[in-house]
């Protein structure tokens, strides 16, 4: 038997168990194999990173007015700088660009309340942004009403077009996707089969075939003479394609809702549609927001494919328009790096946001 009332003080860890030397030992050089790996890794970094930094920053030319002003040792960012406006707005006339700016600015402002915890009308705001705002923005950017000059869609291009395609694409794919998800879970055999066939079809084919199809076949489907805007054709294909992916994400959310929720709603006397709208979907959609953000990121990257059917998104502008300007021949690399960087920035930020959302929502459960 023993007893003590003397509480021992907490001592700091022994010297060889902490500190920078210890950290180096355990993390980089803990075993012969690890040491070899560290040395190889350091060597690889040495031959890749300094030359890249040299090219991109130290030897680069940032301001010049033509290709003579660019030495060939480093990157010629002046090329991008000079044509920056076109990479953002495409062929949209500079005098009217304030319309595009206003539309995007108002979108951002409208989205801010969604991030404020105490804001209560989130679902109304979300519905407005997704379903009504695209039309308002379209009228504003396209023109034709209220004395605004018409800027046809073949003048739209650059980053603006990329954002328009992705945002409108996901916005209109969302309601369709939700209906398909509900249809796939339905007990009515015809409804279920039609949903399954639709979803599996669009998920099984590459986006390029969808774009070709909407570009080439859609005019054939419609009565003689209806002229179809190229962008609209692409958008229809993209919306149908994305709806299938959204449907699968939403279906995952619906499956995660415990059966008890459905039963409680029915027990209260709610009809199918009312219980879906008021009880199930709000919970399911909240669950799948990270999944929807991931779908949006994928769509954002996929918009680059529209350059193959002749629309000039950010990549399309860089590749086809900037690249064929005789004043600036030969700076293909800079253009690709610029476009790649812009996409990376957006996608990385969105994926970080989606991850933090996932963590937040998990703790809520």
């Amino acid at each position: 038997m023993s007893v003590t009332d003397k509480m021992l003080p907490a001592l700091p860890a022994p010297n060889d168990a902490k500190g920078p030397i210890h950290w180096l030992k355990t993390n980089l050089f803990s075993s012969p194999i690890n040491t070899i790996f560290t040395i190889i890794a350091l060597y690889l970094l040495y031959i890749v990173v300094p030359p890249a930094i040299n090219w991109a920053f130290i030897d680069a030319d940032w301001f010049a007015t033509s290709r003579e002003g660019c030495s060939r040792e480093g990157a010629c960012w002046a090329y991008i700088y000079n044509r920056f406006g076109q990479t953002i707005y495409g062929f949209y006339p500079p005098e009217e660009q304030w319309r595009v700016n206003t539309a995007f600015l108002s979108l951002i402002l409208l989205c801010i309340p969604l991030f404020i915890e105490s804001f209560s009308k989130k679902s109304w705001l979300g519905g407005f942004i997704l379903l009504i705002f695209p039309f308002i923005a379209y009228i504003f950017i396209h023109g034709g009403y209220f004395g605004l000059e018409v800027i046809s869609t073949d003048k739209w291009g650059g980053l603006m077009l990329t954002l328009i395609i992705s945002i409108v694409g996901i916005a209109l794919a969302l309601p369709l996707g939700i209906i398909l998800a509900l249809g796939r879970r339905s007990h009515m055999p015809i409804v279920k089969s039609v949903s399954v066939i639709f979803i599996e079809f669009w998920r099984g084919v590459p986006l390029i075939t969808v774009l070709f199809m909407s570009s080439v076949m859609l005019p054939l489907f419609l009565p003689e003479g209806s002229d179809f805007d190229k962008l609209a054709r692409a958008m229809i294909g993209i919306i149908l394609f994305q709806a299938a992916y959204v449907a699968e994400v939403v279906r995952g959310g619906l499956q995660a809702i415990p059966k008890g929720q459905y039963e409680a709603a029915l027990a209260m006397g709610l009809t199918y549609w009312k219980s879906m709208f008021l009880v199930i979907l709000p919970q399911a959609l909240k669950l799948v927001i990270p999944g929807l953000v991931n779908t949006f990121i994928a769509l954002f990257k996929d918009t680059t494919l529209v350059l193959i059917i002749g629309l000039f998104d950010l990549l399309g502008m860089v590749e086809n328009v900037l690249g064929s300007d005789s004043k600036w021949l030969g700076f293909h690399t800079e253009g690709l790096v610029y476009a790649g960087f812009v996409f990376w920035l957006f996608c990385f930020a969105m994926s970080r946001y989606s991850m933090s959302l996932e963590r937040k929502l998990h703790t809520g459960h």
């Binding site: 038997m1 007893v3 009332d5 509480m7 907490a10 700091p12 902490k18």
Partner: protein, 255 residues
């Protein structure tokens, strides 16, 4: 320290911990632990959460590494030596709070995995031994099922049988009943009691089940803030706790 001389003195002791200290990073989690365990002894370790009791027994089979002090098992000091570690782990069995049964293997395969791959036992022999232990924990009919099909209490009993299949000399229990629903706790405790009384197994058990301690333990140890505060026979410990901290702890769990 001459191994031959002190071996006689240490022969009684199957586990010795001498001035054991452990840090997690800069956090001093075990402070100067001194503990000697004789063969056949049953020791219950209790204490508030964060006191280091789980860490203590996990140091014995080297799931946690200690930075200062010595752990001596069956006369040999526990260092990072892998050959020695092999021997230690086959002689020391462990039961976890969350059972940790292998979900992709049947119960029978769970039990025979280590005997076949570590002790190189022929399959038929391993299965016969496994059935013996399944009968001992009173669930022989579940041999062909999978862990996911069993209740928590059954899973923990299987976990005990799995450790027993390696014929260990010491069994370590890390809060074996804390994750169980109340009605299943007694079926596991019964197995542990039988193990102690019929089997004469040396046991170190971290638990809050004081009834079990009273019935079976030779010694009860109370730990707080990384050190051993009080250690006594169950009778003395529960009826006559000396330290204030022990008294406080006991008043909180016995209500």
């Amino acid at each position: 320290m001459n191994k031959a001389n002190s071996k006689a003195a240490m022969d009684d002791y199957i586990i010795r911990m001498i001035n054991l200290n452990k840090w997690y990073g800069n956090f001093h989690v075990l402070k100067d632990i001194n503990l000697d365990v004789k063969q056949g002894e049953r020791i219950v370790i209790c204490g508030p959460s964060g006191s280091g009791k789980s860490t203590l027994i996990r140091c014995i089979n080297h799931l946690e590494e200690h930075q200062k002090g010595q752990i001596i098992i069956e006369g040999e000091e526990l260092t990072g030596d892998i050959k020695h570690l092999e021997k230690v782990r086959t002689n020391v069995g462990m039961c976890f709070q969350h059972f940790n049964l292998f979900p992709h293997l049947s119960i029978m395969d769970n039990l025979t995995l280590a005997p076949i791959w570590v002790r190189k036992t022929p399959k038929a022999q391993a299965e016969a031994d496994a059935m013996k232990y399944l009968e001992r924990v009173k669930i022989p009919d579940q041999a062909d099922k999978y862990p996911g099909q069993l209740s928590g209490g059954q899973q923990q009993r299987v976990a005990i049988a799995r450790s027993l299949c390696m014929n260990p000399k010491v069994m370590l229990f890390d809060e074996p009943t804390s994750a169980l629903d109340p009605e299943m706790i007694s079926e596991v405790l019964d197995v542990m009691v039988e193990l102690a009384e019929e089997g004469g197994m040396t046991m170190l058990c971290v638990t809050h089940e004081m009834g079990f301690a009273k019935q079976v333990a030779d010694r009860v140890i109370f730990m707080d803030a990384g050190q051993i505060i009080e250690e006594n026979t169950p009778n003395e410990f529960f009826n006559n706790p000396q330290s204030e901290r022990t008294q406080l702890f006991l008043s909180q769990i016995i209500h």
